[in-house]
Symmetry: C2
Subunit: 314 residues, 2 copies
């Protein structure tokens, strides 16, 4: 019997389960689609079945299980409160159920918190005691490590970085408030601002690259901006401006050693990072902004499963 830890990464489209040694070497891993039509209990049974197969395969003695899952959660009570991607998971006591069935301790964190931990332990944030992980994709999420520890807040939902206000009375966000960072600077937000301009009559080479303007993504816009398309350049610069305000707010609040950016929009690389580093220093004058590193996430799509394992290894 080998002592091992397990990580479970529950995403909207797929679920990953891995077994690793106590020093985080992944020995085996399974990935299967999240079939949301199955309902919470069926998905849970599948998770437990797959986990059981891996344990038997590896002849493992399980020490602990870490679960990373999209929020909102109540991590203190171990509940998935509700999930847009997992219908039927309402106040679902996943920690208690898995703990009873597997008879080992189980830890739950939201996916962005888990990714922050993973980046600190295995990725771009190694060696930092104060770091912020910000993922910019369909939405904007984040995890905060201050003085070496993840910040949780009252119910474990601290770090809702996507919902700080960057434009007073700005565009309505999916959350219901106005001018949230997510509404303006997420992949969806970038595309929406661009498409609005097109609808108001602006021209761009991006139009010829899609069948329907509703198919335009932040990637199209970043590419066209790199080529000098004026509308795309405007939208990209506006994105950098508001993103630098948002990240600047995080810096004055936390004085981190580094901000680590992940998610689809961060894949634009230096086209995002270079102007962002420059502009953050316009918004942060009270602290030496140049000492704070703005880094690209090191784990990419693996951050969920490594985050879950990092939780299990704590």
């Amino acid at each position: 019997m080998k002592q091992m830890i397990a990580g479970i990464d529950i995403g909207g489209t797929k679920i990953a389960i891995a077994l690793a040694t106590a020093d985080y070497e992944i020995k085996t891993k399974r990935i299967f689609p999240t079939q949301t039509s199955d309902g919470a209990n069926r998905i849970l049974e599948r998770i437990l079945d797959e986990l059981g197969i891996l344990i038997e395969q590896e002849q493992a003695e399980l020490l602990k299980i870490g679960i990373a899952c999209a929020g909102p959660l109540d991590v203190r009570q171990g509940l998935i409160l509700s999930s847009p991607n997992l219908p039927g998971w309402f106040e679902f006591p996943i920690v208690e159920i898995i703990r009873r069935r597997m008879e080992v301790p189980v830890v739950l964190e939201n996916d962005a918190n888990a990714a922050a931990l993973a980046e600190q332990k295995f990725g771009a944030g190694k060696g930092f005691n104060n770091l912020l992980y910000v993922t910019i994709s369909t939405g904007i999420g984040g995890g905060i490590i201050a003085d070496g520890k993840l910040i949780h807040g009252r119910t474990g939902n601290a770090g809702e970085i996507g919902h700080i206000t960057v434009i007073p009375n700005g565009i309505r966000c999916g959350c219901g408030a106005r001018g949230c960072l997510e509404a303006v600077c997420s992949g969806t937000g970038i595309a929406r601002r661009f498409v609005e301009k097109i609808k108001s009559g602006a021209d761009s080479r991006v139009i010829g690259r899609v069948q329907n303007i509703e198919q335009i993504t932040a990637k199209h816009i970043a590419e066209a901006a790199a080529e000098g398309d004026p509308l795309a350049v405007d939208i990209w610069e506006e994105t950098i401006f508001y993103l630098s305000i948002g990240l600047g707010n995080l810096i004055v609040m936390f004085e981190p050693e580094a901000i680590i950016l992940g998610g689809g929009v961060s894949m634009t690389g230096e086209q995002l990072f270079r102007p962002l580093r420059e502009q953050i220093s316009n918004h942060v004058k009270i602290l030496p902004a140049e000492k704070i590193q703005i880094l690209h996430a090191g784990l990419g799509a693996e951050s969920g499963i490594y985050g879950a394992l990092a939780l299990a290894g704590q």
Copy 2:
């Protein structure tokens, strides 16, 4: 010999020193003006002399000293980096000097962090594990307690709440950036916005109450707003709007149990707190904002010395 702790609160105008029992009962206290023309070493000698007198008077065996001081500091290295109110205190190693002379452990925190700790231990924040202390007076400062602990950041300057951006490209702040919460909503910021309107020709009953419009303070404006003076009402409502954006940003980031407001502007009481509670929920939709308490600080001017003692008792 009685075992005691000491607190030293170094402010711009006065310095307070207190000796207390290990359970924070203040036994004796001295307050003297900060004579800045004397230079750092002379002030330090005065602090040590006064402390020595108190120790002898109380026949105390000193266990630990806590120091609360306006920033910027480097709390990890125990330095006062520079202080607008204490000329000559440049990278001043106050912790090391006092530790050597008094031969006890010495802890340094900035005044807002110390006040946050004091409010949690003795004031309005009793029993809360996640709380934000925000002081609104000439400037806006803050201290953050997350999961039971003060957040420090890289060099101990986390919590610069006054310098989050609430108006993109807004008015220039003393720090050099634009549209900071402090520039807009501090006592100084409130008065400045009001006086600008007067200079552009607006009328207000406040004009008849001062000899010179430069003497107008936030207090005059709050009073006139309570009486229905239209310009004062406008400026006060604008203050509430931007303050609720700033505090809303803190809430989505930290998910605290409470935000505790101190400082001169908070003395306006329910005129500030009632509309603030209402408006915060317009900006915070991702979390149940109504569960987060917005409270008035309980310690007032005593927060510095109680903060210093709380540090010494840790």
